[in-house]
Symmetry: C2
Subunit: 494 residues, 2 copies
């Protein structure tokens, strides 16, 4: 074949070697399967979840302002959607400060403490891989395969990624600047730190206590890092946890706030799953709420909260919208953040609008309130059921233990793999859990993300499975998985 192209200039020898080297993992294998079950990522779109009517009504009206005043519109759209759209459209041609106002009041309603529009940056879902063929990025990216965001298998980069990159850009000046991140961790943080040539410090979450976050672990890591001369700048906390699903307890959050304040660390809080809480005894509280309720104000603690429209009950991955709230920075630092932002942000408008809408949903008395609440409740209660079914299913497997997913969109079961499997993996030059995931994919078409992508205690193995699977399909998936697991264990049991 290729010989036909003999007069075209580019051969494999001409291609950037880094491109040639980079892994093609998931995609290549997936294509060999007729039917694939994407259990690897939290993209509701590709898993059949219907969008929330209210959000889509407002977006449609903002896309096509000419119909806002038409009489037919009144019967097609709810009155509050029209009102929201009119408010937004008034703002957009000039500056979308109105969107930030909406978010600020949404934060205030959520936290019970004031929010300031000037603390809000609207961000887009930009790919951190654009300028970098960094293998780590690519490999991680390739574990995040999503259908709907593009016409081919492409990468679902969370809209919080650009927010994270901005903060790393700001905080990392040299290899000497270190930032602790949880292990296991959604790898965006470690990758971003690497890209900005900082020092990535790991702190381990405690699986035995359901992935709790131990302050003592921080203290040890901080001490070790400082003794190595590392200048520790900030602390990354993901709450609810990805991939662990842990929702932090109030006392724990207070410890973390106090720790950051005492040690002079910026608290970088990934709160993109704030609307995804399933445990009845748990509730989401922002770190801003926690710190303010402890009496710490704007001038006492530096806090950044990342949020995205791709998660929650709304799950609007395809709109690429999110925002970042930052408080507790000196005016001159705020100026620097503005500067970094003005270079990095180039957000699509629908994404910006959506980011403002998720923080200003219908309220009691609004025409769409009842249907909106019903849609939201239906999604969240279904997710809670799915989380429980998967948890039970995983716990019923030989050598598998799985803690309750209190929040977020994932189960993160631990697999105790037989020695023979670990040996076979070594021979195949791959991590044992990647070896397991590969076999699972080949045998069943089920895609999960190996725990080694997120980091884990040496000698432990996990995989991440989204709970977004269509509820009616779960039994079939579970039985395929169970059957595979039995065969795998039979094959490799020592």
């Amino acid at each position: 074949m290729a010989s036909d192209y003999s007069s075209t200039p580019i051969t494999l020898n001409d291609v950037n070697p880094k491109v040639l080297k980079c892994k093609y993992a998931i995609r290549g294998e997936i294509l060999t399967h007729a039917q694939i079950l994407y259990c690897n990522i939290g993209n509701p779109d590709s898993l059949g979840q219907k969008p929330i009517t209210f959000f889509r009504e407002v977006l449609a009206l903002c896309d096509h302002p000419l119909i806002v005043d038409r009489s037919e519109t009144k019967s097609l759209f709810s009155a509050d959607s029209v009102e929201q759209a009119i408010q937004i459209l008034d703002q957009i041609p000039v500056r979308a400060t109105g969107l930030r106002d909406k978010i600020a009041s949404g934060i205030e309603a959520r936290d019970g403490f004031p929010g300031d529009p000037n603390d809000i940056f609207l961000t887009d879902g930009a790919s951190p891989a654009v300028n970098s063929i960094d293998l780590q990025v690519i490999h991680i990216a390739l574990t995040e395969v999503t259908e709907r965001n593009s016409e081919m298998l492409t990468i679902s980069v969370p809209s919080s990624s650009i927010q994270v990159h901005m903060m790393m850009q700001l905080l990392i000046g040299s290899e000497n600047d270190g930032i602790p991140c949880p292990i296991p961790q959604y790898p965006l943080y470690s990758v971003s730190i690497t890209l900005h040539r900082g020092t990535h410090i790991s702190y381990y979450l405690d699986e035995e206590s359901g992935w709790a976050l131990e302050i003592s672990e921080f203290e040890n890591q901080l001490k070790t890092a400082r003794s190595r001369g590392v200048n520790v700048r900030a602390l990354v906390v993901i709450n609810p946890g990805n991939p662990t699903g842990r929702v932090l307890a109030e006392a724990n959050q207070r410890e973390i706030v106090e720790f950051c304040r005492k040690e002079g660390l910026v608290l970088l809080a990934d709160e993109v799953y704030q609307e995804n809480v399933y445990a009845h005894d748990k509730q989401f509280h922002s770190f801003k709420n926690r710190s303010r309720s402890m009496g710490f104000g704007e001038k006492d603690i530096s806090l950044v909260s990342f949020h995205s429209a791709s998660k929650g009950y709304y799950g609007e991955c395809g709109k690429r919208g999110g925002y970042m709230e930052f408080t507790g920075f000196r005016p001159e630092i705020r100026e620097q953040i503005y500067k970094v932002a003005s270079v990095n942000l180039c957000s699509n408008i629908s994404g910006q609008i959506l980011a403002s809408l998720i923080m200003s949903p219908p309220k009691v008395g609004d025409e769409s309130y009842k249907s909106f609440s019903a849609e939201k409740e239906a999604i969240l209660s279904s997710l809670a059921r799915r989380a429980k079914i998967l948890e039970d299913a995983f716990n019923s497997l030989e050598g598998v233990t799985c803690y309750k997913a209190e929040g977020a969109l994932y189960s993160f079961p631990r697999i105790n793999l037989p020695g023979k499997a670990i040996k076979a993996a070594e021979e195949a030059k791959t991590a044992p859990d990647a070896f397991y995931a590969r076999h699972l994919l080949n045998a069943t078409g089920i895609v999960v993300v190996p725990g080694s992508e997120f980091g884990q205690r040496p000698g432990t193995w996990h995989f991440r499975c989204t709970i977004l699977l269509q509820e009616d399909k779960i039994p079939a998936i579970v039985s395929r998985l169970t059957q595979f697991h039995k065969q795998f264990m039979d094959e490799f049991r020592g």
Copy 2:
């Protein structure tokens, strides 16, 4: 003030020095002005151009599928918009191959030669600055200030930028790989080559002949580069030209195709202004059309065409949509491009839909055809008028010569600055045309981009001014500019 924040950790000394260093040019100055006229960039949104109804109808329906079948919808939306939306919605939950089909047939209709959906990549408007605080990027970025894409002054990065980055990623393996780009040039190309650590080769456009592109200039640059051991991989051509506004003549395009084929260069064709042609004696022809009409097929020449929904008569900057067509690559290279794409692309859905719509606009007989054509014609004829008014205005200024903007969205007048101004600029450690632009901004609030941002023949000075200014405002702008120019010349005339 800052002392109040004494207990917050981050001081200016803690901030990434590169961030501190980076220029803040345009924005800082602009904020000092009550009334600003953005004459620097081609963003119709911020300059009051209304969106095309048909595109917005389809986008609105795709955002809110529930209303597609409602009877009220029939009276609110044109039948062909509804039909288009239904087609698109059928595709999206699965894979948006339908969008690429639309683009392929649009290309076929445009060129009279077949288009293949598999040659199309839908791309987003991603910021190339995300991973890089590269000063050059930032400085260029800051010359691209746009209002509507964000709630603060942010950067309008063309949706073609991610396409360019993909190709540079693919083609540049070492410092030894060189790619010639036009001078003057929209700096995306030089920046991308720099970011990917390749060798940027300049070829000069000939201002005296209205910014024509001389093959002899290519040949000289190619010879020089090769004699220096540079491996020349591709050739960048921007048609219609940015910032020059030149629309290439048919014969010239054929020479370029023949040159690339003979020399074994990939032809990277920036064709984002293909719908912006104003000269009555000129017409846009894609390089694909030219090469095919010369009898060169898929296997004879490697050709990449960049396109974006942010330009044209549609000018949908805020939607961040575009596509890239590439033909004439061996199957194994195509595989590599797929790989790079699957890492880089994370396109927002509205942007993808819009990219497909601009290539499949209403056709004769469609309900919306008449109104659509009227809107399109009104915009394009107004742009042609504005281009002429600005051309005449610039040519009436002392020491200023301006060639006709045959296409694209800019005038690029040349200013012969008096020696005293050049000397004053040297003392101010800035380029003479930047010095002029700065004075213009301070005196009038008019923002233009200095020619030194695009490159120009040594000793010549220019500035770029968009022709998108609201037609009714142009007389006022022209008189402010004329008055300023007179004062400037009086002040600095030798």
